[in-house]
């Protein structure tokens, strides 16, 4: 059977103690799971009120409450950076959400880039690719090479018609 992987490895450079603490809190998946369970218990019917979600100050809480329990590897490294990685299957969208909140809070003038590869453990046709995302405090911009190639295809087909 074939298995698919989405892998990445990047750092947020030169993080302060405050930034590290914030990032660790945001990426403590066990705690996040506990918060989700508490909120589901507290609000068993209907959606969790926005102010309650905001009070928790967890960038991925809305996604987790919606059932998209996306995560990735996250830990400070020995050089004072914060390492963000996925060794098997990580979620670039979750990374982008956390990093955008991080930039908005701590580094509004900076940008950050994540690149990932997606591949298959056997040579399945069309099973290989990758992508990248540029994150700033204001926006998340996705760059998906295959989609761009398909857009080029649509243009090409139109020109032929």
């Amino acid at each position: 059977m074939s298995q698919n992987f989405v892998e990445f490895s990047e750092v947020i450079p030169d993080v302060t103690a405050e930034e590290t603490a914030w990032l660790l809190r945001q990426t403590n998946w066990e705690d996040l799971q506990a918060v989700v369970a508490d909120l589901h218990e507290k609000f068993p019917v209907g959606p969790v009120p926005d102010e309650e979600v905001a009070r928790c100050d967890l960038a991925l809480l809305p996604a987790w409450l919606a059932g998209d329990m996306l995560d990735f590897g996250a830990e400070p490294d020995k050089d004072g950076n914060f390492w963000i990685y996925a060794e098997e299957y990580g979620d670039p969208e979750a990374v982008a959400t956390v990093v955008q909140t991080f930039l908005d809070r701590f580094r509004p003038e900076q940008s950050w880039i994540l690149e990932w590869s997606s591949y298959c453990n056997n040579l399945r046709i069309g099973g290989f690719g990758g992508g990248a995302v540029l994150v700033t405090a204001e926006k998340i911009e996705w760059f998906l090479p295959l989609e761009l190639a398909m857009a080029a295809q649509a243009k090409f087909e139109k020109a032929l018609a």
């Binding site: 003038e109 990248a132 540029l134």
Partner: protein, 164 residues
Amino acid sequence: MANNYLEFSEVITGLTPEEAAWLQRQTDWEQLQVVVNDLYDKFPGGEIPDEEMARHDLVLLPAALVDDASARFGAELDEEDMHFWIHSGDGGDPEAVAELIHAFLRRFRPDQWWALSWAEYCDKPRVGEFGGGAVFITADRAAWFNTLDHLTAEAVKFEKTKGL
């Protein structure tokens, strides 16, 4: 030690016997190597005349003459379905694939297109060693879409707007 990989797997479908024969000849790496060796013997100075190159009609010959390790990827004909499978399970060369397909489309299918997407990764989570890309190929051009090139340009734009 960490190993880096560049992998892809795509097919060219609905081949005619003539197309299949041409693709097989172009990707017969052993034969390509024989031609390279012959040319080195015949022109020991290294300057191979253009007409000699053209006579062989091998798209990847110029690349193979420069670097005999390049211009390689897995290539197999599925005779039952008449598909040509182009793949790399290790370190393939998308540029060589694009060059071959460009010549193929120019020769056989001037109104068609073909696309290849690939993954680049490392078997250890080394920082900055993951990514991928795609190339869209027609008889007239090849358009490359590479994750890092594009986003580096976007980041430079962003820094400029912030006056950094």
